[in-house]
């Protein structure tokens, strides 16, 4: 018995034949355009846009059918081994028959199986009832990763080589255009994300170019300053962050930071005027971006409104000021009466005299505490004036040492000082620098029970004579400072654990004030210490420079 083709194959053949009969009627003439004209139109279409919409496929398919010596074009999609037509120049009935035909389906599914799915499967012979032999050319379109779209071209004869080349060209173009479109979309969504991030931050964000002109200005800054992005962009920072006393604040920050090329991150609290001339306190923090040669070419600044915070701080400071003042009147009275009592200690027993001395000491401590509290507030509010001028540090140091010699001797300590043999002129505020030295020597004596306190002046940099700076070192053989506590000793209200153990008094404000004073005078203080081995505080004073002289530090 002759082997019969499977039923499905038979019906495929009949469908194929039916289809061929109708081919010519289905391909509508398009304005009688030549094949070349159609090809140009196709190319033009592809340069404009590549989409995955049915409309797009319909246009591609229609024009393509007229660009080749083809009988019909079918564009279909394969997903999960299921074929579904997107467009065809076939009638819908024919299309349905083809799509449901197993043999054709397996042919159509062939694309991509070889792994080289970009290849055009050309010249596949559809064996209908032999003859005629018909050609199916399959062109996989790699235009989206999610679905596999193929163009099937049915033709009477195998396509010409030049037509195949054209198809290669078309598919390559579609691929490229599609990728460009995807990248564009990705870029758009990234831009959108950035813009959302920029404008919906809770903080203000500003970017400046190398001339310190605004290039980016987010919406929170509009709320803060009153300037809209449109108004702010292109202006220099001092117009949009106006500071009457110090308009060049950022330039100054930059100059300060450009000296140390490694330091790029800054933070500072400033009072500014808004567009409506209202006062606002802001905290600015940001970074300088540098080119490879180290020059700053961009600045990114994050701005927070700290007006409320400042207001609270001012109220706190005001409260401390008033409270301190109120405390001082009774303290003054107590001090006065205790001294009047001390005038005639003849009537008191030794024990009572001792009590009186204790009371006087305690009261003096209150006086110092109130003074320290006020100084901290004045430092914080920048109310202290520092007038830097050339000052010879030697006589000042000598004076402080002689002031403290009785106190050291009382504790059995040696207060050593050797006069240096080099010029000792520094840039400083003479009153403040004396306070600093006194405070440090006082501390050294306070926290030393045996041994000595050594004060020495030396050049800051022994190696180069160009460095005119001078350091003052105060070394003691006292109780020292815990390694853990060392980083915090210059903090406000930080009292050392050891200090609490000692019998000495203090509110923990001294070193905070000392450090603030030194920094305001362009200097620097460091400490080295080992518990029970003593501490060394080293102050490096600012050098005497022309610009340091007569400069007032607000």
């Amino acid at each position: 018995m002759a082997k019969q083709p499977p039923q499905s194959e038979k019906s495929a053949v009949s469908v194929w034949e039916q289809w061929l009969q109708k081919l010519n009627t289905n391909v509508q003439p398009r304005y009688q355009l030549s094949i070349e004209q159609n090809r140009f139109e196709l190319l033009e279409l592809l340069t404009k846009n590549v989409a995955t919409t049915p409309h797009f496929f319909a246009r591609i398919g229609t024009i393509l059918a007229h660009s080749l010596y083809a009988d019909a074009v079918l564009i279909y999609e394969k997903s999960n081994q299921k074929l579904s037509p997107l467009f065809s120049t076939l009638s819908s009935k024919l299309e349905d028959s083809i799509m449901s035909n197993a043999r054709l389906q397996s042919k159509l599914s062939d694309t991509g199986k070889s792994g080289t799915s970009r290849r055009i499967h050309h010249g596949v012979t559809i064996k209908a009832s032999e003859p005629p032999a018909r050609y199916l050319t399959q062109v996989p379109l790699q235009i989206s990763p999610s679905n596999e779209v193929t163009i099937a071209i049915f033709s009477q004869d195998s396509l010409l080589k030049v037509d195949v080349k054209f198809l290669h060209f078309i598919t390559a173009m579609m691929r490229i255009r599609r990728r460009q479109a995807q990248m564009g979309q990705a870029l758009n969504s990234e831009t959108e994300r950035l813009s959302t991030l920029t404008h919906h931050l809770s903080e203000g964000l500003m970017m400046l170019d190398k001339d310190l002109k605004v290039t980016l200005w987010n919406r929170p800054l509009q709320r803060l300053t009153g300037f809209s992005p449109r108004e702010a962009i292109g202006k220099t920072y001092e117009k949009v962050f106006y500071r009457p006393q110090n308009p060049q604040w950022l330039m100054e920050l930059q100059a300060e930071y450009s000296q140390e090329s490694l330091k790029n991150v800054f933070t500072s609290d400033l009072e500014i005027r808004t567009k409506r001339q209202e006062r606002r306190w802001i905290n600015v923090s940001g970074s300088f971006l540098r080119t490879s040669d180290g020059t700053i070419n961009q600045t990114i600044v994050i701005i927070r409104d700290i007006s409320r915070h400042k207001e609270l701080e001012n109220r706190k400071n005001e409260f401390i000021s008033i409270a301190t003042h109120e405390l001082r009147t009774p303290i003054t009275a107590i001090k006065g009466y205790l001294h009047l009592l001390q005038r005639d200690t003849g009537n008191l027993t030794d024990k009572q005299t001792n009590y009186l001395h204790r009371a006087i000491e305690a009261n003096d401590r209150l006086v110092r505490l109130s003074e320290d509290l006020l100084q901290v507030i004045h430092v914080e509010e920048n109310r202290l004036q520092f007038t830097l001028r050339p000052v010879n540090i030697l006589p000042i140091t000598r004076k402080v040492i002689s002031d403290f010699t009785p106190k050291a001797e009382k504790k059995g300590l040696e207060l050593r000082f050797t006069a240096p043999e080099f010029p000792t002129t520094i840039a400083a505020d003479p009153v403040r620098i004396e306070q600093v030295i006194a405070n440090l020597i006082d501390n050294a004596i306070k926290y030393t029970n045996h041994g000595y306190v050594q004060v020495s002046l030396s050049p800051a940099n022994q190696k180069t004579s160009e460095d005119q700076r001078i350091t003052l070192a105060i070394k003691d053989t006292g109780i020292g400072i815990n390694t853990k506590e060392l980083p915090y000793i210059f903090d406000k209200f930080h009292r050392l654990h050891n200090a609490r153990l000692s019998t000495e008094s203090g509110a923990g404000l001294g070193l905070f004030i000392v450090k603030s004073f030194i920094e305001k005078q362009g200097g620097d203080i460091t400490v080295k210490s080992k518990p029970n081995r003593g501490s060394t505080f080293t102050v490096t004073f600012g050098a005497v420079e022309a610009k340091a002289l007569g400069r007032k530090n607000p």
Binding site: S321, H325, R328, T329, P330, I331, T332, A333, K335, G336, Y337, L338, H339, L340, R343, V367, S370, E371, L374, Q375, H378, R383, L384, Q385, V431, R432, Q435
Partner: protein
């Protein structure tokens, strides 16, 4: 020799009492005014020295100082400004006081009565 007069312009009773008692045995006579207006009136008696508190009810110390110095009769009386407001290092108040013509600026709580008396006597000795 005629006894020298020192005018204390101070509103705080605690301190008025303290200084009155503390200076009892001193050679100078202490007069007290409890506010600025009274102080200006008593300054017309031409004391040898005025101790002037800053934080006064009504006319404050700086205003009193300004008026004393702008009056031809009182402008040569030396004035020591006493304060418990602010710290010793608050240059602002100190500079203001000195620029208005005060001869000194003292934080009350820093000086016991003996030291105060010493400062007063030194100042009184200056214009002999």
């Amino acid at each position: 020799m005629k006894q020298k007069k020192v005018l204390l312009i101070e509103d705080e009773p605690l301190l008025i009492d303290l200084y009155t008692e503390a200076f009892e045995e001193e050679d100078f006579a202490l007069m007290v005014a409890e506010n600025g207006t009274e102080g200006l009136k008593k300054a017309a008696d031409l004391p040898n020295l005025i101790l002037l508190d800053i934080l006064l009810p009504g006319l404050n110390g700086f205003e009193v100082l300004r008026r004393l110095k702008s009056n031809a009769r009182t402008k040569d009386i030396p004035v020591i400004v006493l304060t418990n407001l602010g710290s010793e290092q608050t240059d602002k108040d100190k500079r203001l006081a000195l620029s208005l013509g005060a001869v000194d600026y003292l934080v009350k709580s820093f000086h016991n009565p003996e030291e105060m008396a010493e400062i007063i006597n030194k100042r009184l000795a200056l214009d002999e």
